[in-house]
């Protein structure tokens, strides 16, 4: 059943029901603000708590305690007065805080006094030769299927890449009886030394012991190859093998499924389309919004919380959601702020949740060869544009992603640059000897997700709108 929003105006509209959005919406509603939470998925949870209310994986140990934290957040949300709409895709947000949202094939329009964007993260593109072949997926994709449908890899399965999520996924697959033939760890050896100065913070963070025991659990059952410096998928219309180089030696192994992962990056499309200023983050190698200490962006009234504000993980996302909501309460209903956790306490909590992040970011900084492809490797999956095509465009004068679009259509397909944007920026930066900040990013505009023409046609219009189009 699809339900349109009950009102046209809200104090706070939260977009995304992951950790940050769940926390923000319940905090805001508890303080008495009219609050609407819009989420694209079937149920709340975002990616990290995916299918938290419906997962068929009933043995709580299999998904781990960190997952089930999400159930408490959902419970708090349900206990609050927040209005929640699932399968609601926001396709437009503008500087006037007007939101267009597609629900069940029809659009609704709401206006907010404050918008809290909690659109989270997506996996960093992993543009290796053959990454578009059927049978090559992200690790997150496999985890989504595992959480929401208790599906586990069955055929010959290779997991490649690096980062905490990769080990968590591997452990979860094994606990559910799935198959993993080999793990190819692409962590650059030099990163261990670079990360060392930040190790103390990490050792005292909650990630440390959990991470270590998970790696031990996986390594006891699966062959792990570390120091992988090259990676390629091949097959004729379907993945057949994975080849890699480790320690200078090339090996090719047969495979039905290759799961790729090299960290996550902010999902910037909606924020950028709303005009929020972003800067290139040299440590996390991605675009992050420019925010103040309460998560407020460069657009008045729009705050960003969670991994969309810069990758911080689920615990930090929850606290950032509370901070953004508290800031909204302070602005819109100052008296109600008194019963919320004080800002200073939230900031302390955030610092604790973010402890060890620099270590992780440094250790798991993906290698250039896995971020910046060459030759015939596809950069833009939608328009099927290769690295060579991009470099040819640079050679005839493309200075940035938007001129590149004009030459080659990169980013002009349905994914709107989500799967190629970072690659394009870094590839052009390398080719031109510039920084990613100088190269810039695609200019994004609504609709940030596809809507049907009929739905767009049903947008309320004025006489002036008609006159701007019909002119003899």
């Amino acid at each position: 059943m699809t339900v349109a929003p009950k009102r046209e105006d809200y104090d706070v509209v939260v977009i995304g029901a992951g950790p940050a959005g769940l926390a923000a919406a319940s905090t805001s509603a508890d303080a008495g603000l009219s609050t609407l939470l819009l989420d694209e998925n079937v149920g709340p949870g975002g990616q990290v708590f995916r299918a938290i209310s419906s997962t068929p994986v009933t043995d709580r140990n299999q998904l781990g305690a960190d997952y089930w934290v999400g159930a408490d957040l959902v419970q708090s949300l349900r206990a609050s007065n927040a209005e929640v709409i699932q399968r609601a895709t926001v396709w437009s947000l503008d500087r006037n805080l007007e939101i267009a949202v597609s629900i069940g094939g029809a659009s609704a329009f709401v206006k907010a006094k404050r918008v809290i964007l909690a659109t989270g993260a997506l996996e960093r593109p992993f543009p290796i030769p053959g990454w578009t072949l059927p049978g090559v997926m992200t690790a997150g994709a496999a985890q989504t299927m595992l959480k929401s449908s208790a599906l586990v890899p069955d055929g010959r399965t290779v997991i490649a890449g690096q980062g905490p999520l990769l080990w968590l996924l591997a452990a979860q697959i094994l606990r559910l009886g799935g198959r993993i033939d080999r793990i190819l760890d692409t962590t650059e050896r030099g990163n261990y030394f670079a990360a060392l100065p930040h190790a103390f913070a990490f050792l005292t963070s909650p990630y440390f012991t959990k991470g270590l025991s998970m790696m031990r659990e996986v390594k006891a059952k699966v062959q792990v190859v570390s120091g992988v410096t090259e990676l390629a998928a091949s097959g004729d219309g379907q993945l057949a093998s994975v080849s890699y180089v480790a320690g200078g030696k090339r090996e090719t192994i047969p495979a039905d499924l290759l799961l790729l992962h090299q960290g996550v990056v902010p999902n910037v499309n909606l924020a950028m389309a709303a005009g929020v200023e972003h800067r290139w983050d040299d440590l996390q190698l991605c675009w992050s919004p420019v925010l103040d200490a309460s998560g407020m962006s460069s657009v008045t009234g729009i705050a960003i919380a969670g991994d969309g504000a810069g990758i911080g993980g689920a615990n930090a996302a929850v606290v950032r959601g509370r901070i953004a909501a508290r800031a909204a309460v302070e602005a819109l209903a100052p008296a109600a702020a008194a019963k919320l956790a004080p800002m200073a306490a939230l900031r302390t909590e955030l610092a604790k949740a973010e402890r060890g992040r620099v270590f992780l970011d440094t250790l798991f900084r993906p290698s250039p060869q896995f971020r910046i492809p060459s030759g015939d490797t596809i950069v833009c999956r939608c328009e099927e544009v290769t690295a060579k095509d991009v470099l040819e465009s640079v050679a005839i004068g493309a200075t940035g992603p938007n001129q590149l679009k004009a030459y080659r259509r990169t980013g002009m397909g349905p994914c709107q640059g989500r799967l190629c944007g970072l690659t394009v920026t870094e590839l052009m930066a390398q080719a031109r000897g510039k920084t990613p900040q100088e190269i810039g990013y695609y200019r994004l505009r609504a609709p940030v997700k596809p809507i049907t023409l009929a739905e767009l046609a049903a947008v309320p219009k004025t006489e002036d709108d008609v006159k701007a189009v019909v002119r003899g």
Binding site: P56, P134, G140, S148, P414, L419
Partner: protein, 98 residues
């Protein structure tokens, strides 16, 4: 490529893929059901006709595009299955009116 864990006790839902009955589970997305079914669910792209399967399963890559109940280019990873749902694997560009 994928199989179901035995602990999954969700009720069965029957969908049709290019007219052939396929067993799914309540709460599956169309893409998950297709990947679990073992049928050849590869679409071919509108640009070159290259074969593809879902890549991200979270609504951002658009490689799961599929025709659902007569409507083309739906994101199969965001749409839950329903009893009797008609799914068609897309080959090339979508047809207008579909």
């Amino acid at each position: 490529m994928f199989r179901r864990s035995e602990q999954d006790k969700r009720p069965q839902v029957q969908i049709f893929v290019d007219g052939v009955a396929v067993a799914a589970r309540q709460g599956d997305t169309v893409s998950a059901a297709l990947l679990a079914s073992g049928v050849d669910a590869r679409r071919s792209t509108a640009v070159s006709g290259a074969p593809r399967l879902p890549y991200c399963m979270m609504g951002v890559c658009f490689d799961c595009l599929v025709t659902i109940d007569g409507v083309g280019n739906r994101q199969g990873c965001l749409v839950p299955v329903a009893e009797g749902m008609q799914v068609e694997i897309q080959k090339g560009k979508r047809e207008i009116g579909k």
